[in-house]
């Protein structure tokens, strides 16, 4: 009982450190399991995965596939933001348009898009266009919803006050509407980025004859967990980095909301 409470005390004083310790413990468990308990055809210890990241990247064509994926994600993201903003603003700024089209947008958002992935591939081929398109359809809905929500919450008194001080339409858009919707715009962008990544990765994994899906398929069939885990780790790190970057941007533009 006593030792438990001291551990708890330690955890209380150093939450960051405890998190690191927990992550380290997980890695150690994985290491032990992979070394002593699980067939090495199925699992590879983290030390080896880490050590062989270089060899993974050295796999012929893999860096190109990664670069291509990154390119697909970027293009899909830019397109999702552009289209999402146009749709979001035109639906959000007009009461009637919102009433008409929000139900349709929500309905479309609710569709399990994965079932139409084969259609995208049939229509657009196995190259970047289908993956970009699938990324766009996944990323666009959170962006539209965030923009519609962002445009709506503006307090009328701010508009009246701006107008009473002589603000022009441009002034109001630039100094009132835009800054008001920036935070929700950025959180929409972050969710959109998550969606785009999911869409692109789904399409990449689905197409097994090229890109990331080819390599995951290859490593799986060769029972090469080291390289499979290496590739997955690289992609996961990429996803985390993109997500953290969006979060940073979001925080930067919502400073006025908090106290720092």
């Amino acid at each position: 009982m006593k030792s438990r409470s001291t551990i708890k005390g330690l955890m209380k004083r150093h939450p960051r450190l405890s998190q690191l310790v927990i992550v380290a413990l997980c890695l150690v468990m994985w290491e032990v399991a992979a070394r002593f308990f699980v067939d090495k055809m199925f699992l590879s210890p983290p030390s080896r995965v880490y050590g062989e990241i270089g060899r993974v990247l050295g796999t012929k064509g893999l860096t190109q596939a990664l670069t291509l994926t990154l390119y697909e994600v970027s293009v899909a993201f830019v397109m999702a933001v552009a289209i999402g903003m146009i749709v979001g603003l035109s639906v959000g700024l007009n009461d009637f348009a919102r009433r008409c089209f929000m139900p349709i947008i929500l309905l479309l958002y609710g569709i399990p898009q994965i079932v139409i992935l084969p259609l995208f591939i049939l229509g657009l081929g196995i190259g970047p266009p289908s993956k970009i398109a699938f990324g766009v359809t996944h990323g666009i809905f959170p962006i539209i919803l965030a923009i519609v929500a962002g445009v709506q919450g503006l307090k009328p008194v701010l508009l009246i006050s701006a107008r009473s001080m002589g603000a022009s339409r441009w002034h109001i858009l630039r100094y009132v509407v835009l800054p008001h919707m920036l935070p929700s715009f950025f959180s929409g962008m972050r969710l959109g980025m998550t969606g785009v990544l999911l869409g692109v990765l789904l399409a990449e994994l689905y197409v097994s004859t090229a890109g990331i899906g080819y390599f995951t398929g290859l490593f799986t069939q060769n029972f090469d967990p080291t390289r499979l885990l290496g590739l997955i780790s690289i992609l996961a790190a990429l996803a985390i980095a993109l997500n953290e970057f969006m979060r940073m941007v979001e925080r930067r533009f919502s400073r006025w909301r908090g106290n720092d």
Partner: protein, 280 residues
């Protein structure tokens, strides 16, 4: 300072209201409300006029008509001889009841933005903004965001923004309505001192009898809805007014008179609202 300008300068009309009536909604429908009924009044230059009355009596409506935010159903308002048909940023500055500072801008950015909207040359922004902050005692908080300030400080900042616009007329819609009693008192004192220096024409809406007596040169008392001006009470007391005025017999006398005038009207609104339950 001179005594009440309302007495010395009767001829100099700054704001003129002529037969103003206003209704909300379409006639014949249940949401139709007659807020203001045939009101005519002159407000003199440099005068501080308080509008007081039961809730929904149309005092804010009248303020918005003067400010050009609301087009009255009938009648006209004119400011400095110009008839009002929209916001007049060079003549009128507004302090709203709610916090109307832009939350994403710091205090000084808010003030500069007002001048940008109004069209003040950029070179003057900084100096005038600092001056206005100084006047309300917020110099040290120039770079804070509104969310970081207390309610009282936010209303001071809003006041600074209105002052920086350098308009002859300032309209205030329950500027201290959301604040606690102690803060209101201190702000009221400061406001009295500040406004006696600037010589602006001020029209402000309030619920507080004490605030009206303490700040105003004249008090317009409204009837219950549909609102009309029931009586205009002069407060003959020079600005700046000290806290000691609040405990004087004169203050209490005026306050009691206001109370009597309002009491019946407030009764009327209360019975009105409880009678038409579901109407709101």
């Amino acid at each position: 300072m001179s005594a009440s300008p309302a007495l010395t300068n009767k001829q100099d009309v700054c704001v003129h209201i002529q037969n103003v009536s206003h209704s909300f909604g379409v006639e014949g429908q249940p949401k139709h409300v007659r807020a203001l009924l045939d009101t005519t009044m002159d407000i003199h230059r440099g005068e501080l006029l308080a509008l007081i009355g039961p809730s929904g009596c149309g005092k804010s409506t009248l303020l918005n008509v003067i400010g050009g935010i609301l087009n009255p159903t009938t009648g006209t308002a004119s400011v400095n001889g110009k008839s009002v048909d929209g916001p007049m940023p060079h003549d009128i500055a507004y302090v709203f009841q709610e916090n109307a500072l832009f939350p994403w801008n710091t205090i000084i950015e808010n003030i500069r933005l007002g001048m940008l909207f109004q069209g003040v040359p950029k070179a003057d922004h900084e100096g005038r903004a600092r001056e206005a902050l100084q006047a309300v005692g917020l110099s040290e908080f120039a770079d804070h965001y509104p969310a970081q300030l207390s309610g009282g400080m936010r209303q001071r900042a809003a006041l600074a923004r209105a002052l920086s616009l350098d308009t002859p007329v300032v309209l205030m819609d329950e500027p201290f309505g959301a604040l606690d009693e102690q803060t209101r008192m201190v702000l009221g004192e400061d406001l009295s001192a500040l406004l006696s220096r600037t010589g602006k024409t001020i029209i402000f809406v309030t619920h507080s009898l004490g605030e009206a007596v303490f700040l105003a040169d004249r008090i317009a008392v409204f009837t219950a809805r549909p609102g009309r001006i029931k009586e205009v009470i002069p407060v003959e007391e020079p600005h700046p007014r000290k806290a000691s005025f609040m405990t004087s017999d004169k203050f209490n006398g005026l306050r009691n008179r206001l109370f009597d005038l309002l009491h019946d009207e407030i009764r009327k609104t209360v019975s009105l609202t409880s009678g038409s339950s579901g109407g709101f």
